[in-house]
Amino acid sequence: MNEEQKSYIEIRGISKYFGNFAAVDKVDLDINKGELFSILGASGSGKTTLLRMLAGLETPSEGTIKIDGIDMTQVPPYKRPVNIMFQNYALFPHMSVFDNIAYGLKKEGLSKDIIEDKVANILSLVKLEEYGKRKPNQLSGGQSQRVALARSLIKEPKVLLLDEPMAALDKKLRQSTQFELVDIQFQLGVTFIIVTHDQEEAMTLSDRIAIMEQGKFVQIGEPNSIYENPNSNFVADFIGNINLFNAKITSTNDDNASFYCEALGGEIVIKKSIQDQNVKDVTLALRPEKMIIQKESPSDEDTNFISGVVEDFGYFGNLSIYRVRTNNGDIIQVSKQNRMRTEQPIKWEDEVYLSWDNENLIILEK
């Protein structure tokens, strides 16, 4: 992003109170044109309320929303250049697929020919050419979702809001639909804002993700940076699996920081300087796939390792996930790619060694 580029959607100090409860609490957010942006959070985190304020279905208690430079805060939903795709699609049950999709255009007062053309085009975009005459109750879940998508895209909104777009689909369909959605977004260049509780969905779909908790954003960034550099215990724990260990800073200089971490076998040195001298207690976080599990003791003297006993494991075909009880009594999760067909698998009660590279440890201040 260069400095001259202004953000397409500017959210400044937006709050929504229900009584005394702040569903959304003084949120700032910038979204770029054509971006596929996800707001990820557990239920009750305020993500849907924020989306509804963008659509105009909820009035902010304070703050402003600008889209393409124009203040939208007080504009009613029917005048906003924004459309929303509802979680359960909210298709009009008494209208055919054609009439559902054409509804927005009819309200614009377009001529019949233009409407028919546009609807035909978008039906072919979502691959439902033959379904125009059907009623919503004659559609499968995946078809309903595509009709809802077509209906919300037909007015060529500047921003498309999607509330849990995949939640009503089964897993297999969800994956193929995710790619279709990204494809359509790329073709049309419309800015997408997706609200979801499904981290996998957010990771695969988005250019950037904002993680929301108790009405506030806790971290905003690209999927990979959120995964590899979470900025808090909450984000580290929320995204993917992770092992969290308590540690104390013993010494720190310009290049290195030394920690004492009982769970990881004592002294740990990481090539990173700690700026704040007051910080003593930290959490060290380590992802399960960044450890190696093996039955033999690592031969290299420099390698960090601890030993333990396999307490439980799950076999997923491509990989296995182990829960190992270390000699200290901690439980550590490790995943292992099943690379060799003929390999002797590690099983319950096996004595194992876990090793890792200290550079993969994430330092989280408490």
Binding site: R80, A90, Y103, K107, E108, N137, Q138, K155
Partner: protein
């Protein structure tokens, strides 16, 4: 082997139970609808005589001891010959239709308002709608006489605030009948409408608004068509009792208020012409059955559409 026998026994019992459950409404309708209807139908096919009962028997014993059936369509023909009956039917339909229309106009916003109010308020409002039923219908109609009469509450109030300087003639007019009918049958309009509107998915309204519809367009395009089953149910529940209503026009209406219920009463109790009165009743039932059949057909078509084309 004994296990199999028990199984058979069980399935037999289950079927018996199922049939019994289904039989209850049939039994009720047989006793309290079909039987009286057939009796009235039988009377409508007889001639009036001065006797006890005042009509000719359906089965007549001939001289040689065998039975013959005596039936005549004279009474029905008479209904068509005397224009009074046609005019009265028409006026009843008109009265019932206008009452239903106003009950809908008044009841819809009430039902909508209740359906949109917060849950605890909603229950209180519904209770208030139903509470008048705790007082006898007749008493409530008498109360309206007190309100509408020349020196009644309404005229008193209007004179007091100075809108009128002569009391209005309200009681014993068609207007009074309309007021009484709309007031009495309004809950039958509100309750089915409420049941329908309460289920309406708010997100459909939001979706319409999001797609560019203004408030009144949202109502016209989404709320109204989706509440059509409630409108039909409520309208039938008001229209059917209104058309045959006797008490309200008798108490609030004038001498010139033509209602089929009054004609029926007069034929039975003043003229003691039971056969003609029965014929009037039969025609009335047929008049009512037609819209119900239409409604039923519509509904079953709709549910057929929904069930046969639903996709899992």
């Amino acid at each position: 082997m004994s296990g199999l026998l028990i199984n058979l026994d069980n399935s037999f019992r289950e079927r018996l139970w199922k049939n019994l459950v289904i039989a209850i409404p049939y039994l009720w309708l047989l006793l309290f609808f079909l039987t009286p209807f057939l009796i009235v139908l039988k009377i409508s096919l007889a001639d009036p005589i001065i006797a006890q009962p005042p009509f000719t028997p359906f089965f007549q014993e001939t001289v040689d001891g065998s039975f013959s059936i005596y039936a005549t369509f004279d009474n029905f023909l008479y209904l068509f010959q005397d224009s009074l009956y046609f005019v009265t039917y028409l006026s009843s339909v008109k009265l019932a239709f206008i009452s239903t229309f106003f009950a809908l106009i008044i009841g819809y916003p009430i039902a909508y308002g209740i359906a949109r109010s917060p849950q605890p308020t909603r229950n209180i409002l519904l209770l208030m709608i139903v509470i008048p039923f705790w007082i006898s219908f007749l008493l409530r109609v008498y109360a309206w006489m007190g309100i509408l009469k020349t020196k009644g509450l309404l005229n008193g109030f209007l004179l007091w605030i100075g809108i009128i300087d002569q009391p209005l003639d309200l009681l014993y007019t068609d207007t009074a009948v309309y007021i009484g009918m709309i007031y009495s049958y309004l809950p039958f309009m509100i309750l089915p409408l409420y049941a329908n509107l309460e289920k309406l998915d708010i997100r459909l309204l939001e979706a319409a608004s999001d797609l560019g519809a203004k408030r009144w367009q949202v109502f016209k395009d989404v709320t109204l068509p989706l509440s059509l089953p409630g409108i039909i149910a409520g309208s039938l529940l008001v229209f059917i009792p209104s058309i045959g209503e006797y008490v309200i026009p008798a108490l609030l209406g004038g001498a010139d208020t033509l209602m089929i219920g009054r004609v029926l009463f007069d034929e039975f109790f003043l003229n003691r012409d039971w056969p003609v009165a029965s014929a009037v009743a039969i025609v009335l039932v047929l008049l009512l059955v037609l819209p119900i059949v239409y409604f039923q057909k519509r509904q079953s078509q709709e549910s057929m559409q929904n069930s046969s084309q639903a996709v899992t």
